[in-house]
């Protein structure tokens, strides 16, 4: 716990190398938490980014005040990267299983994954690809979407991390949704 506090302290003090050290720490913690959940719950359980990231935050930075966005910013930036990696790995694994596995299994998974509010592995990969495209076009909006998608932050929380006002964030989010709508429509 004191490791991460120290690293965050160093980042606050402008030490760039500390940022690199932060990611593996956060990644390990998130992966551990994710693995734990997967074991305890059904294997097809969709990873709940919010719960994971918040848990990781409490575990790693727990002793600090949650509203302390100064270090929160760095933490969430790392969490987004880590969580994306975990989710995408997970999705890839599932997608490949699906392709390689028997047909009956596909049917079950398809059924499971079409529940409202959950994404299939393919869908997540699709979103991530679109996000990569958005990154080039409009980095700020991409950052917002990533914080929402991978760190599970609310618009207000994401606004706090990026450092924009809540109402501006809502405008941006509105745009992001439209952008994705266009993008996902296909040509």
């Amino acid at each position: 716990m004191s490791d991460i506090t120290k690293i965050l302290g160093r980042i606050d003090a402008g030490d760039d190398r500390a940022t690199e050290e932060l990611l593996p720490l956060v990644y390990d913690e998130l992966r551990r938490l994710a693995a734990q959940r997967m074991r305890h719950e059904r294997s097809d359980h969709t990873l709940q980014a919010t719960a994971l990231v918040h848990d990781a935050y409490v575990r790693l930075v727990g002793s600090r005040n949650e509203s302390c966005w100064q270090s929160g910013t760095h933490f969430f930036a790392a969490a987004v990267q880590a969580m994306r990696r975990i989710l995408i790995e997970h999705a890839r694994r599932k997608a490949s299983q699906k392709r390689g596995g028997g047909w009956s299994r596909i049917a079950i998974e398809d059924y499971e994954e079409q529940r409202v509010g959950e994404l299939s592995a393919e869908q997540l990969l699709e979103l991530d690809e679109a996000l990569a495209k958005l990154e080039v076009e409009d980095a700020l909006i991409a950052e917002l979407v990533r914080l929402r998608l991978y760190a599970g932050l609310s618009v207000t929380e994401a606004a706090g991390v990026i450092g924009i006002s809540r109402s501006v964030a809502y405008q941006h989010w509105d745009y992001a949704l439209a952008w994705f709508a266009v993008e996902l429509q296909g040509d």
């Binding site: 302290g9 919010t50 980095a139 979407v145 709508a181």
Partner: protein, 1104 residues
């Protein structure tokens, strides 16, 4: 992050376009903006189309799947947005139903093109209009109806126009301009509100509970804004509270202040008539007191009631007594039903939105029922108080609407601290696990228990940190009530640290900032409503809620008041004759009684006046008594109770004044202050009170009562008038509105002002401009009594400049001394003073004066930093003197081998003394309180920080500047141990047990555990710190910065909590501080620019 690139044009245009109302205007906007750039235009149009047609796609679902409340809300909000923009009936609908008049002949108004009628009110018609110049926009124009332009309506209309113009609030429909049509009818141009009634909006958009409550808070705050400007809406109902979408959020707009009436019934020079027999407003939402046909006595609480009904409807889809019943039984029956029967609580109704859980029900019931109480005294005193309570509910804090039970409060507190709670939950889980295991798992259980204990402790520490942090924020906001609440909470909820349960020491300091010590407190059995003091200041007379009249001996603290007599009904007013032998008291039902104070007998009881007595005054010459009756009249009689004359005055009489020569009586009226001649009983003058409109509180001040001070119901300021000329010569901003009582000091230069929330502010007046003007500043403010809504907190001055008494609804009478009540106090240290000590036990200040006798002759002396066990030390030349603090007598002289002294300090037991020069340190010890002493050891060490003694004088902690390390030296053996290395330290501090060591090195703040060498706080690149102080209880660290700011750190959670003190003006460098008696008081010493020392005391005085 600050250098953010300009947004891509597509996004910029998209975000601008979505703010527009409909598709058509979006299209024209894009056409105009994009010009030839067809690609861009198509791109944005496609985005906008996607927004309209694809409300739910992958990203939506991905984010909506998160179990996050606000995320869900967001998605919900966007869905609604999308819904709104595809549903033209929502966005382009006009506030009220469209009236399509066949023979529409609009009045002609220059610069406006009246398009069509969009609403018809009782006295005017509202048109949708196009403003043509100077800017083109759509507006609403309200014109008085043809055939209805009677004097009365125009007067009322003028009232509305001016009232509206005074208001500027996003949630109140704005008035752009006003004028008269060609046919002489007044009109005004208002913001066009494209909204729908709040109830419809909530239904159509299926708003959840939180969103509905948030709208209610917005509504309250808008109405409060109007109230502060003296405007009551009087007809708040869903059709006057419209909601529209703005930037994707629901925004409320309160429209139609058409029946609003300024509290002071005169605006624009005309009487604003609300026809006596005409019921204005809609019965369903109208407060019971509004139904009384003679509704002179309507105040802002009618709007609180109406908002309460609107909230009731938002929660249940029905009004307390529903429309059907109203239709069935008619208006008169409706009101009698309303007054007779308490309506069902919202939770007893069939819930409209189905979002009730058990707990929510109860709290919201309390809030709503308080707002719609039949008795307005039991309602929220203001719309902002209503809003604050709803907000508290939203924030998960206990609401005020009902005295919360312990269990309720605990549940709420737990919910406020989410993270901590999750830890507590983990603890619970591990406890369950423990209960279920068998013996051979004991080892594992033990480990689990240790872990859970650790978790629990950590959770508790976090909770404490959060509470302290909240208290510090509150301290900066100056919200004393909340600070008191938080400090009480911290005190009653101690955290066990190092095995000892006690509240953090800092709490004492915070509590002392909120409250102040009294010079005597007297407890009465019921709420004290009125107070008067005898001229000699020896005795005080109180009247209370029971009607008892009691005499108190102010010189006998904790004495019981002598019962003189009783009214047997609540009494509010009291006055004592100048000779102190007779008193007069007045009851809520209008009875006036004269009492003989010497033998405690009733002299005379007068037949009751029409309304309750609010104020009584005895003229300074002792010959007359004046009694102010609420909203009716002023009764004036002689000292025996024989009536002289009466003055009709439809206003509150919260204060009345006699001029010093007793020839004039001064009373506030609805529009000014009137001066009456005591001989004739005739009005001889009126004093204009602009900018105040509703003067309630009056007081004389200044030399020979030359200034008249007036306070208002709604404004947060006082005015100062020259009594002779009536000229406005000054204004004093207050921190709170509605001063309830004012009393001035004997010299007239201090004002003490009380407020309903239990607060007293002390104002210092000073003449400027050679006496042509007066300025005032808040000298201090503090919480004197328990807050109670809408009551007067009586005050009375005692002789002299510094003492006064106050009475409260808590039944207490307190005697205050101005010197005690300062929160922070800046003093300049007199030149004749060499050092200043805060006496640890009492917190009093003790100066060491320069005297002829040694050792205080020269300025070149070094003092030990604080008094320890009643002594301090001073070094001068080669002599170190040990001085008894009480009488400053030298009790020992020590010949020192040091060449020049830099530092001097005692051990905690005061039996060991260390002195240092730049390169050497000497330690002396005495076993007989410095009757004799010996030099124990002497070390060659070059050091920068003042050395510290600990472990019963056995150990010396000192920095080794040459070796860049910190050493712990055993004084007896001289053995050195390294505590830290590679640091150049400028300051060291220890807590009382010498367990924790704090240090300031170059750009580093470090706190470590001396024994385990564990680093508790380590802040690199941390500049500007000049002093540290660890609290003895191990909870906090104070960080004193060079600029005078003081920050608080929480040691268990290792975080900086916030500011304790921030100098208002630039102060010099922080040299030194002293803290008395478990952090009850602090003194900071600053080296100031002129070369002397400024002392700052926080708070002003500690208790005995």
């Amino acid at each position: 992050m600050n250098r953010r690139p300009a947004p891509p044009p597509a996004r910029r245009l998209y975000e601008q376009a979505i703010a527009l109302a409909d598709e058509a205007s979006q299209r024209s906007f894009l056409a105009e903006q994009c010009g030839d750039d067809v690609v861009l235009r198509e791109r944005v149009e496609r985005l906008l189309q996607a927004r309209r047609e694809q409300p739910n796609h992958l990203l939506h679902r991905a984010v909506a799947s998160e179990g996050d409340d606000s995320g869900g809300k967001q998605t919900d909000l966007l869905n609604r947005l999308t819904h709104a923009s595809t549903n033209p009936s929502v966005t382009s609908d006009t506030p009220t139903e469209i009236q399509d008049c066949g023979q529409f002949t609009p009045p002609s108004i220059p610069s406006y093109n009246l398009v069509r009628v969009i609403g018809e009110g009782g006295m005017g018609t509202v048109y949708l209009a196009e403003q043509l110049a100077p800017i083109r926009r759509e507006v609403a124009v309200k014109v008085i109806k043809p055939g209805m332009d009677s004097e009365e309506v125009i007067a009322r209309f003028r009232g509305e126009r001016q009232a509206l113009a005074m208001m500027d609030h996003t949630n109140i429909a704005k008035v752009f301009e006003s004028g008269t049509t060609e046919r002489g009818r007044p009109y005004f141009v208002m913001e066009l509100v494209r909204g729908i009634p709040i109830t419809d909006y909530c239904k159509q958009h299926d708003l959840n509970l939180r969103q509905r409550l948030e709208l209610c808070v917005d509504l309250c705050m808008a109405v409060h804004h109007a109230h502060q400007r003296g405007v009551i809406h009087r007809d708040l109902k869903p059709t006057n509270v419209l909601v529209m979408n703005q930037d994707g959020k629901p925004v409320i707009k309160v429209i139609d202040f058409g029946v609003s009436k300024a509290l002071r019934g005169d605006l624009g020079g005309r009487t604003l008539v609300t026809h006596g027999s005409q019921l204005i407003g809609t019965p369903l939402y109208m407060a019971p007191e509004q139904a009384k046909r003679t509704n002179y006595d309507v105040d802002t609480r009618v709007d609180v009631y109406s908002i309460g009904v609107v909230l009731y409807e938002l929660l249940t889809d029905a009004t307390p007594i529903d429309r059907e019943t109203l239709k069935r039984i008619g208006v008169d029956q409706f009101y009698s039903l309303l007054v007779r029967r308490e309506p069902d609580r919202p939770s007893q109704r069939v819930p409209g939105a189905g979002f009730h859980t058990k707990l929510l029900k109860r709290e919201l019931d309390w809030i709503v029922m308080k707002a719609i109480d039949r008795d307005r005294d039991r309602r929220y005193p203001s719309a902002s108080a209503f809003a604050a309570d709803v907000q508290r509910y939203l924030d998960g804090e206990p609401v005020e609407a009902c005295p919360p039970s312990w269990a309720y409060r605990f549940g709420k507190t737990a919910r406020q601290y989410r993270i901590e709670l999750s830890m507590l939950a983990l603890l619970m889980v591990s406890l369950v696990v423990i209960s279920g295991v068998s013996l051979w798992q004991m080892a594992a259980v033990d480990a689990a228990r240790r872990e859970s204990e650790q978790r629990e402790r950590h959770a508790v520490e976090l909770l404490q940190a959060l509470k302290l942090q909240r208290a510090l924020t509150t301290l900066q906001d100056g919200n004393l009530m909340r600070l008191h609440e938080l400090a009480t909470d911290l005190q009653s909820d101690p955290v066990s640290i190092d095995g000892v349960s006690r509240p953090p020491e800092l709490t004492h300091l915070l509590m002392n900032v909120a409250t102040r010590p009294t010079r005597g407190s007297f407890a009465n059995a019921s709420a004290v409503n009125g107070l008067a003091a005898t001229r000699d200041g020896q005795r005080a007379l109180s009247v209370d809620e029971r009607g008892d009249v009691k005499l108190w001996d102010l010189n006998a603290p904790d004495a019981i008041g002598r019962l003189i007599g009783t009214h047997n009904e609540p009494a509010h007013a009291v006055a004592i004759s100048p000779d102190g032998h007779t008193a007069v008291t007045g009851s809520k039902l209008g009875t006036i009684c004269f009492w003989n104070l010497d033998d405690g007998t009733l002299i005379r009881r007068l037949p009751p006046l029409e309304t309750g007595i609010e104020t009584l005054r005895w003229s300074p010459d002792g010959r007359h008594v004046a009694a102010g009756a609420r909203y009716s009249e002023v009764w004036v009689g002689d000292a025996d109770g024989n009536e002289a004359f009466r003055i009709a005055n439809d206003h509150r009489h919260e204060s009345l004044l006699f001029s010093r020569d007793s020839t004039r009586l001064i009373a506030p009226t609805r529009k000014d202050i009137c001066v009456y001649d005591m001989r004739s009983g005739k009005k001889i003058r009126s004093i204009n009170t602009q900018p105040l409109k509703n003067v309630r509180t009056l007081c004389f001040a200044g030399k020979d009562d030359r200034w008249l001070i007036a306070g208002e119901r709604f404004k947060e300021s006082l005015i100062i008038l020259d009594f002779k000329t009536g000229k406005l010569i000054g204004q004093v901003p207050l921190d709170t509105s509605y001063p309830r009582a004012i009393c001035a000091s004997g010299n007239g230069m201090w004002l003490r002002i009380s407020f309903s929330d239990g607060q007293i502010q002390v104002i210092q007046l000073s003449p400027s401009d050679g006496g042509a003007a007066v300025t005032g500043r808040i000298f201090t403010k503090f919480l004197a009594h328990r807050p109670a809504s809408d009551v007067r907190l009586p005050l009375a001055s005692l002789p002299g400049e510094t003492a006064f008494i106050s009475g409260g609804q808590d039944g207490n009478i307190h005697r205050w001394h101005q010197h005690d009540v300062r929160s922070t106090e800046m003093r300049r240290r007199p030149d004749s003073v060499l050092a200043t000590y805060l006496i640890p036990e009492t917190g009093r200040v003790s100066h060491v004066h320069r005297t002829k006798q040694s050792p205080f002759t020269s300025r070149h002396v070094v003092f030990s930093p604080e008094i320890v066990d009643g002594v301090f030390a001073v070094a001068s030349g080669n002599t170190i003197s040990v001085v008894r603090a009480g009488d400053q007598q030298v009790i020992a002289e020590i010949k020192s081998p040091l060449a020049g002294h830099r530092d001097l300090a005692f051990s905690a037991e005061a039996d060991t003394l260390v002195a240092g020069s730049a390169t050497q340190v000497c330690v002396w010890k005495s076993n007989d309180r410095w009757g004799s002493h010996e030099l124990v050891n002497q070390f060659e060490i070059q050091h920068d920080a003042p050395p510290r003694l600990c472990d019963g004088g056995q150990t010396l902690i000192v920095d080794d500047a040459a070796g860049r390390r910190i050493l712990e030296i055993d004084i007896g053996s001289g053995r050195r141990t390294e505590l830290a290395n590679d640091v150049s330290v400028s300051f060291l501090c220890l807590d009382s047990g010498a367990r924790r060591l704090g240090m300031i090195a170059e750009n580093l703040l470090l706190v470590m555990d001396r024994r385990s060498a564990e680093v508790l706080i380590e802040k690199h690149q941390f500049h500007g710190v000049s002093r540290l102080q660890l609290s003895d209880d191990g909870t906090t660290l104070l960080e004193g910065r060079r600029d005078g700011r003081v920050y608080v750190w929480h040691l268990p959670t290792r975080q900086r909590l916030g500011l304790l003190y921030q100098p208002k003006n630039a102060v010099g460098m922080l040299h030194r501080w002293q803290i008395a008696n478990q952090s009850r008081r602090m003194m900071l010493e600053f080296g100031s620019d002129y070369g002397g020392t400024d002392l700052l005391l926080i708070p002003g005085q500690i208790g005995p």
